[in-house]
Symmetry: C2
């Protein structure tokens, strides 16, 4: 029965989209039925899976604001078992337009509730902010996966994110839990990376995924070809680390 996982972190450039696209693709490859929802007006997950943003037609914006049907917007991707609800540029306006709507925080969760059972997992990629789009995603989610770049500023922002998750849990989504933290762009040659890893383990212990995503240029090249890394370079460290993350994700889910 579909579980909704939100990739959130208001710090920019920490690997939310890269983790959403590649974890979703790796799980789809291992036979899960996956939906990826691009809640970011930048539309990086949409472009990263090969959809052309300019000729997108109907997008998440139309679902949130114009009440079209889910089936008119959802698309297949090049990866079997992976579908996407694409973003478009007018999503920028959605945050302002959502403000006027009654119960504006629960619009996305109402859209996803009736289709949840069609998928094993639904991943929500969020923009780098704590605005209404991210609040909608956190309210719709069963769990939050926190990508965390091995950098000082990213570590500094963690307490603000944890505070926001707590507020959402209290007021809008009592069932929300932290699925875990995924360390990204780890560079074994530099001390800072190791310091961040040990600091995060100290505070979050078992919540920290064992799989650490290394910095790997294939991961940053793949989106320019509109492919997840496992379709771009299946022998790369990027591919192996996200397949390992998918295996660990499933193992953690089974333990629950």
């Amino acid at each position: 029965m579909g579980k909704i996982i939100c990739l959130a972190n208001q710090k920019g450039g920490v690997g939310k989209t890269t983790t959403a696209v590649n974890l979703a693709a790796s799980l789809a490859f291992s036979g899960c039925e996956i939906l990826l929802v691009d809640c970011d007006p930048q539309g990086n997950a949409t472009g990263g899976l090969g959809l052309e943003k300019k000729n997108i037609g109907k997008s998440l914006y139309d679902l949130l604001i114009n009440e079209v049907s889910f089936d008119e917007v959802v698309r297949p991707t090049e990866v079997p078992h992976l579908s996407i609800l694409p973003a478009s540029i007018d999503l920028v306006g959605a945050e302002i337009e959502l403000v006027q709507i009654v119960s504006r925080e629960t619009v996305l969760s109402k859209i996803l509730a009736p289709v949840k059972s069609r998928f094993d997992y639904i991943f929500l990629d969020c923009p780098p902010s704590l605005g209404l789009l991210t609040v909608n995603a956190l309210t719709a989610a069963d769990a939050v996966l926190i990508p965390l770049q091995c950098e000082y500023y990213a570590l500094e922002g963690l307490s603000q994110l944890v505070q926001t998750i707590r507020l959402i849990k209290q007021s809008l989504n009592p069932g929300l839990v932290v699925a875990g933290l995924v360390l990204t762009m780890f560079d074994a040659r530099n001390n800072l990376s190791h310091q961040v890893v040990s600091e995060v383990h100290k505070h979050f212990q078992a919540k920290v995924f064992d799989t650490i995503i290394p910095r790997n240029v294939r991961l940053s090249e793949a989106p320019s070809h509109g492919k997840p890394v496992l379709l771009y370079d299946k022998y790369s460290k990027g591919t192996h680390s996200y397949l390992a993350l998918a295996r660990e994700f499933l193992a953690r889910e089974e333990r629950k």
Copy 2:
């Protein structure tokens, strides 16, 4: 007479804060009187210059919403000739509170107009979004400096940013110009970096600063010590590249 420069890019993690802090510090070092305004609720520029966010007291939030005086909020930093208007966590609420204020886009420009002449340059560090805080910064600014990470997703987001700047220029700030684009986190060993550099030169020609900021671990370590890189490790590539950027910035200003 003080010129206001806004560091903006809605793509996250492209080096806005790192460029704001280190360019401001390098210019202060060469004798300019500089103010840095931290418009990002994450408060990375505030932490990166050594201020403790928890005991901040009055911050930019109080200027925007509670109408305290500029002199109650502005602070010195460890760098001579560099002052800061710090951010605090309640800035997250400012975007929602600003919506109710009449002429909500020009609040920051009204705060800065009377103090502009005290400084040679005022730098505004923006959050990774195109919300009301960034709109306020773009409306207050004389020019926009665009930090651009040498990555595909960052390049993809450029047209959205340029479009937003054009809209602000038409409706709120006719004098706004693009001061230039600064390429950051350049890694000479990887093709993607070179591809992004040549792509940006093709589209923006003379607007692209000659100084390219290389990826340099000292730049990411310095904020954990609350110092700009020139106070953390004055012999590093990071320090040299931002001092070179400061020289080029001044040369371009003199040519105008």
